[in-house]
């Protein structure tokens, strides 16, 4: 059998642009693993997450940054994402091992693409394409929402004062990037 290695090529790898005071970039080595809480055994899974990450899984619509820098995002009553930096293609195993089989885990790394937007005008840019209310008082730091932007499914997480992590499907990564770039140009 021929000896070969696979090279990871995320669609927006290396993208990093500054538009005035707004910076838009694709975080490197972003890994995403979904956690589904098993019906009837939710408590055991929640306990395992807490002991594995030192932080409880937050309420739906909220996220928590753990000490090691992984972000736990609760998307619904029985589903969550772990978003972390992981360069090798074994992110799912890394999470599954820590949860010791108490929850269903699926690797989502390849099907999502990430963009981080930061700058004082980030809300002005996003309010044109994001139907969720992003006002400081309505969308606090750590808040997360699964929604649509320019007809593309997206996940938005407020990771800082004026910083948002945007995730969308990798198959339409460039359309999503175009939507955000266009909104930046339209509002600057």
């Amino acid at each position: 059998m021929p000896d070969y290695t696979l090279i990871s090529t995320p669609p927006l790898a290396g993208y990093d642009k500054i538009f005035g005071t707004t910076r838009l970039h694709a975080p490197a080595d972003l890994a995403i693993v979904s956690i589904a809480l098993p019906l009837g055994a939710e408590d055991a899974a929640l306990k395992a997450v807490k002991s594995a990450y030192g932080a409880a899984l937050p309420e739906p619509g909220r996220s928590t940054l753990t000490k090691e820098g992984a972000r736990l995002v609760r998307l619904g009553s029985d589903q969550a994402f772990v978003i972390f930096t992981h360069a090798t293609p074994d992110a799912e195993r890394a999470v599954a091992t820590r949860l010791k089989g108490t929850a269903y885990t699926t690797d989502q790394t390849d099907v999502w693409t990430g963009l981080e937007i930061t700058g004082p005008d980030s809300r002005t840019v996003l309010e044109r394409i994001c139907p969720v209310d992003l006002h400081r008082d309505a969308f606090a730091e750590g808040d997360a929402a699964r929604t649509v932007m320019e007809h593309l499914g997206a996940l938005i997480v407020r990771t800082g004062e004026d910083t948002f992590l945007l995730l969308s499907a990798s198959s339409s990564a460039n359309s999503f990037l175009h939507a955000v770039e266009t909104s930046i140009r339209n509002t600057s």
């Binding site: 739906p60 998307l75 619904g76 009553s77 139907p131 699964r146 929604t147 649509v148 499914g153």
Partner: protein, 95 residues
């Protein structure tokens, strides 16, 4: 139109898709004597009220949950939103 999701707060209707009358939750027993008649009614007969209507909405571009939304069909005013899972459980379903 904005649907106030019980878990996630107010969300734009564009994130949802509509299925129909919430009576679809009450699927008939296929082993009943008159199962044929019951399934006929379940599949084809609907009320068409001008006023409050309990209906199923799916949060497809969100947490993929099913909701029971009470909406006035003449004004689109939404008076109540519940998780369909809770509604089904309150009607004796185990899941």
């Amino acid at each position: 139109m904005i649907i106030n999701h019980p878990l996630l707060g107010p969300r734009d209707a564009a994130e949802f898709i509509y299925l129909g009358d919430a009576a679809l939750i009450d699927r008939p027993d296929w082993q009943a004597e008159d199962a044929m008649q019951q399934f006929h009614d379940y599949a084809y007969l609907r009320d068409n009220p001008a006023g409050p209507h309990r209906e199923l909405w799916y949060h497809e571009q969100g947490d993929r949950s099913w909701l029971v939304v009470t909406r006035d069909t003449t004004t689109h005013e939404i008076t109540d939103v519940q998780m369909a899972r809770d509604v089904a459980r309150s009607r004796g379903r185990d899941k």
